[in-house]
């Protein structure tokens, strides 16, 4: 019982992004012909939430797979993003009574925003001081009631993780916020 809840692997050819209809590749330049940011969706990643009990933090933290992105969104609770589809099931198998794992691969949408104007654009949507956000760090915040996690992947490169059902609305807001500096959809 409960196999698909432990791991809801994406079946090739059967999966569709919530942005499939609205995300049209191309350059939507600003007045000066520039595209200040690039936006693209990281579709098909395995995403899960792994949480420890208050006294098992170190046991659980050790389980974070190498090469994955792990954002500590709450004390001893990590959002783990990886290209390895097997990770949610593996973690569920390993964690035992030390904590819990919830597969969210279908429930979240990841938008990557990069480019010279990415901080300017994201500052319109989030009340976060991006200038002081360390590289390769993450946080949990929200835009107008849309819960979001943000990962500072590299200089001027961010991943925004949002609820799947709100992806379309957020994408619209992101495009509007980018329209003065221009954007390119990959």
């Amino acid at each position: 019982m409960a196999n698909i809840f432990q791991s809801a692997q994406i079946v090739p050819g059967k999966a569709a992004s919530p942005l499939a209809a609205s995300m049209k590749a191309g350059t939507y330049a600003a007045e000066n012909g520039a595209a200040g940011v690039q936006i693209h969706e990281l579709f098909g990643r395995a995403i899960c939430e792994m949480a420890a009990w208050h006294d098992t933090r170190s046991n659980v933290r050790r389980l974070i797979p190498k090469g994955s992105t792990a954002i500590e969104i709450a004390p001893s609770r990590w959002l783990i993003i990886t290209e390895d589809q097997a990770v949610p099931a593996k973690l569920s198998g390993k964690i035992g009574d030390k904590g819990t794992v919830v597969d969210l691969s279908h429930g979240r949408t990841i938008l990557k925003v990069s480019g010279a104007q990415s901080v300017w654009v994201l500052s319109k949507l989030f009340a976060i001081d991006f200038a002081t956000m360390p590289l390769r760090s993450g946080l949990a915040t929200s835009h107008h009631g849309i819960t979001a996690q943000i990962w500072h992947e590299a200089e001027n490169t961010f991943q925004i993780i949002i609820f799947r059902s709100l992806a379309e609305s957020f994408f619209e807001a992101l495009k509007a916020a980018s329209s003065d500096v221009g954007y390119e959809i990959a």
């Binding site: 919530p18 279908h106 379309e168 609305s169």
Partner: protein
């Protein structure tokens, strides 16, 4: 001839770059760098507005945000933006503006007849005439309702437009160590100093072109973020400041994609106020004639725009700053004929300035009146006694076309006042200043009362702000409040400054009394016989200046809330579904076939479910993963019924109460493993249930090892309902059987549909044999397609919210319409779910007197007796007489046309409902539809009360 452009001066304009604009349909020319105000002055326009009540002609009074008179409507692409100050509007080629509050034109306003009314429109006129009881034909609220239309037209501001605003607005979130408000010399120095100390600095300057190129370069080098055309208008808790940046308002063609205005939200470690000071007038009879303006304003027009307000300029002052202005104006070729000063003696330095200006000094005298039809032509001057504050002796006449006034200076301390800092009265400066110690904020330069008007000139005015003499002396120019109005209000008992302000509307116009505040206080102080600090001042409120609603809405303009879409959203659109906003969710209401209306569609869909099979998207149900060794104990406390002994692989319907014993939410919860449950909640309550459970775990039961995670978006779900639903699954599901043995009522199995892993639970909301099927959300469309394909040969149709509602109403199942926060489990016939064996949230409160009263409103069914359509929200009454319906006995919570009963039915909450079956009542809806319909009370289980269909 009045105002004009001189040959020299004008640091902000480019004389070689003419700009054409249209005002009231007439073309005029200014030059690049002009504000609308300076362009009007250069064109010799004297009358720039008509006053609020009396429609008196008014001219330019100031040069900045404090301007009370010159309000215009700006038009772009058919969109009107009314009530903009001409002093803030930067002209551009092709700009179109309209004057306001005049008919037919500014120069000839027929409504000026209101002036003859004079006394009748004094303070409290509206209250006295229109409010209170109806006595006779010409008094009271009813009379007001009759007159309102005419009065609103006569007294008012610009007209709002009806063309939708196509502009984009946006918010920008900013953070800094130091925010410098105001970018003149003081602000630039403060910003540079802070940046050199290593602070992150933002400098906001409200006007355009205030900083020189050299200053901008310096700021850039030091890393100061400069926001031009940006007015900081509000202070909020935690040093969060709001500012508006006018991004494209001055541009002929705004760049593609650019926001018109930006709403800056700045979180500042420290705020340095370099907001300067505002000159205020002296109030005297006839002080509102065009041509009478602040001395500093005339200087601004001369220095920035190369314009002079008139050819024969007189000055009336109580302080030295006016002398410095006179000298500078004379240098700009102004003809200063006289300086009248209330002080009997002036300083040597002031004397020298006056001489340099070539102006006649008239000391110890005051302006007691003015004349001139459309502009001041002469002023009347009499001896002034500083001791008694009275004019005496005969008056002289001075011919002039302009009178500049200077009553001293008030530091701009609005942001400190908004913060709650109590202003301190400085008797020497005759002004309210910020207190010495300001937490998280400091004032600098003129904003701190440190004035510098040049060598040896004193900033200290004589305490004369009002020349008491017969005649209309206007305190608040924009709201037409006179010194007599203030005195009258005082005589009528309005002695608190807050009351007086509201009764006279003084300082309540769009300029918020920026120039009138201190003179008004001085008049009140005179009336009360108290010094100004004892009269006190009102606290300033945000915004400092008017801000467009669109700017505040920012990125949400035209899109108030985000929308949530289910994984099958595109399929519903493709199938021609009418979409309905349910909270944030977009859900299909009905799948109308060509020629069908909503009712025909949902009746067809519901019938198909009852006779064959239908499929509905239930992905919106709240879904919470409840995991941990104590998950079962936790759910046993949260739900009213038992969950500890629920078998793995089974689901159970659960009910939750609030702590006060009222019903909160219901839903099914599935046990997926010993320590893992999938809880479903109603769509509407998902967030509330989650928060309540998180609170219990964090605050009250920290010993329980349970984790909660919202998985609403992780799973796409459909319900397949109807006698042929099992056939649909049998055709499409692999990897498991779906027969009654393998999948009994409330059983759960896993399998695959078209290669997609799914989980199936047999449960029913419709009362039919039904299943809920869940898969990963990304697979939602593929699963929907596969099930549709399997179901079509069996006659399956998709059904929407309306049919879903119909099926549940017929079955008597409750939703948020009945679990409305006022109903108990017993009211909804769910008392069988209240466990007697264990405590649960709300259990301690359910037996209270009021909750067990037999006359409580309980759930019943309602049937229309004459076939008329019922309306949810109608009240149930006993009286047949529509006009005298009597007491409400209950109300309808939801209605539909029932295909099973072949009439309109409803669910209702009815007083003592259990004993009312078969009773004839009336559903009355007096306000909306005006209907009063005969109904019969029936059982809430209208269809298959034994439940044989869903169990079969």
């Amino acid at each position: 001839m009045s105002g004009y452009r001189v040959e020299k001066g004008g640091s902000r304009i480019d004389r070689t770059d003419p700009v054409a604009f249209t005002i009231d349909g007439k073309q005029m020319f200014g030059v690049n760098g002009d504000t609308l105000a300076s362009a009007l002055m250069a064109n010799g326009v004297s009358i720039v507005g008509r006053s609020f009540k009396y429609h008196r002609p008014r001219g330019l009074f100031a040069a900045g945000f404090e301007e009370p008179n010159a309000l215009f409507t700006h038009m772009r692409d058919g969109v009107r933006e009314p009530n903009l100050r001409a002093t803030e509007i930067e002209i551009y080629d092709g700009m179109i503006v309209e004057s306001q509050n005049r008919w037919p034109t500014l120069d000839h306003d027929l409504m000026a007849i209101n002036q003859l009314g004079g006394k009748a429109l004094a303070a409290g006129f509206y209250y006295k005439t229109f409010m209170g009881p109806v006595i006779g034909p010409l008094k009271g609220t009813r009379f007001w309702m009759f007159c309102e239309h005419f009065i609103r037209r006569a007294a008012g501001l610009g007209k709002a437009g009806t063309t939708p605003d196509a502009s984009r607005y946006e918010r920008v979130n900013a953070f800094c160590d130091v925010l410098v408000v105001g970018g003149r010399q003081e602000g630039v120095s403060q910003a540079l100093a802070a940046a050199k100390d290593g602070s992150r600095v933002i400098l906001c300057e409200q006007s355009a072109h205030a900083l020189s190129t050299a200053q901008k370069d310096q700021l850039l080098v030091e890393g100061v973020q400069l926001l031009d055309r940006t007015c900081v208008w509000g202070w909020y808790d935690g040093n969060v400041l709001a500012a508006v940046e006018r991004v494209t308002d001055h541009m002929r063609r705004p760049p593609k994609g650019m926001a018109r205005q930006r709403h800056w939200v700045i979180r500042a470690g420290h705020v340095r106020l370099c907001t300067g000071a505002l000159e205020r007038p002296i109030i005297f009879p006839g002080n509102d004639r065009p041509g009478i303006m602040l001395a500093s304003a005339a200087l601004t027009y001369a220095e920035n725009h190369g314009c002079l307000p008139g050819q024969k300029i007189a000055i009336f002052a109580n302080n030295d700053s006016a002398y410095s202005a006179a000298q500078k104006l004379a240098k700009a070729d102004a003809n200063i004929v006289a300086i009248i000063d209330v002080r009997p003696k002036i300083s040597e330095a002031a004397e020298q300035c006056a001489q340099a200006a070539g102006a006649k000094r008239i000391t110890g005298r005051a302006v007691i009146g003015t004349r001139g039809k459309k502009r001041v032509r002469e002023i009347h001057v009499a001896a002034w006694d500083l001791e008694t504050g009275t004019a005496k002796g005969a008056s002289d006449v001075i011919k002039c076309d302009t009178l500049l006034v200077s009553g001293g200076w008030s530091p701009v301390i609005h942001l400190a006042s908004q913060k709650g800092e109590k202003p301190v009265w400085d008797n020497v400066l005759q002004a309210f200043c910020v207190p010495q110690k300001l937490n998280g904020m400091s004032a600098h330069g003129a904003a701190a009362g440190a004035f510098d008007f040049g060598d040896s000139l004193s900033p200290n005015p004589a305490p004369v702000l009002h020349i008491a003499y017969p005649g209309k002396a206007f305190v608040d120019l924009q709201h037409d409040v006179t010194a007599d109005d203030v005195a009258l209000a005082h005589r009528e008992g309005f002695i608190s400054v807050e009351h007086l302000k509201r009764y006279t509307t003084l300082g309540m116009a769009t300029d918020q009394g920026k120039t009138s505040n201190i003179p008004a206080l001085s008049i009140m102080a005179d009336a009360l016989g108290k010094p100004i600090p004892e009269v006190g001042t009102t606290r300033f409120r945000a915004p400092y200046t008017a801000v467009a609603i669109g700017t505040l809405a920012a990125e949400r303009f035209g899109d108030l809330q985000p929308k949530r879409l289910t994984p099958m959203h595109e399929r519903h659109i493709d199938a021609g579904a009418r979409m309905y906003e349910a909270g944030l969710w977009m859900r299909p209401e009905s799948y109308n076939q060509p020629g069908e209306n909503v009712e025909q569609a949902y009746v067809r869909e519901a019938k198909t479910v009852r006779t064959k099979v239908g499929m509905v998207d239930v992905s919106t149900l709240g879904k919470i993963d409840v995991q941990g060794p104590d998950a079962a104990i936790f759910l046993n406390r949260v739900y009213t019924n038992g969950f500890a002994k629920l078998q793995v692989g089974k689901a159970r319907y659960g009910l939750m109460l609030r702590e006060d014993g009222f019903a909160m939410d219901d839903g099914t919860t599935w046990r997926l493993a010993e320590n893992r449950f999938l809880m479903t909640t109603t769509t509407a309550n998902a967030a509330i249930v989650m928060q309540q459970m998180e609170k219990m775990l964090a605050v009250h039961w920290p010993d329980l090892r349970v984790h909660l995670t919202s998985v609403t978006d992780q799973w796409a779900g459909v319900a397949i309902a109807g006698p042929k639903s099992r056939d649909v699954l049998a055709k499409s599901v692999t990897g498991t059987a779906v027969d009654d043995m393998t999948l009994p009522f409330m059983g759960i199995v896993e399998g695959e549909i078209d290669g997609i892993p799914v989980m199936i639970c047999r449960l029913s909301f419709s009362g039919e044999l039904a299943f809920e099927v869940y898969c990963g959300a990304h697979h939602g469309e593929a699963m929907w397609d596969a099930l549709m394909q399997a179901g079509q040969p069996l006659g399956m149709v998709p059904y929407g919210l309306e049919a879903l509602g119909t099926l549940r109403i017929e079955k008597g199942h409750v939703t948020a319409a009945e679990i409305d926060g006022r109903t108990t489990a017993s009211d909804l016939h769910l008392d069988w779910m209240l466990s007697k064996k264990k405590p649960f949230i709300g259990s301690a409160m359910i037996d209270r007197e009021g909750l067990t009263d037999e006359n409580r409103w309980t759930l019943v069914g309602v049937k229309s007796l004459n076939g008329a359509k019922l309306k949810a929200g109608s009240h149930l009454v006993a009286s047949e007489a529509k006009e005298e319906p009597g007491w409400s006995l209950g109300h309808l919570t939801a209605m539909c046309f029932s295909p099973e009963l072949n009439t309109y039915v409803a669910l209702a909450l009815l007083e003592n409902g259990d004993t009312q079956k078969g009773r004839r009542l009336f559903a009355t809806d007096p306000v909306r539809t005006g209907t009063h319909l005969p109904v019969e009370i029936i059982d809430h289980h209208m269809v298959d009360p034994e439940g044989t269909r869903m169990h079969g």
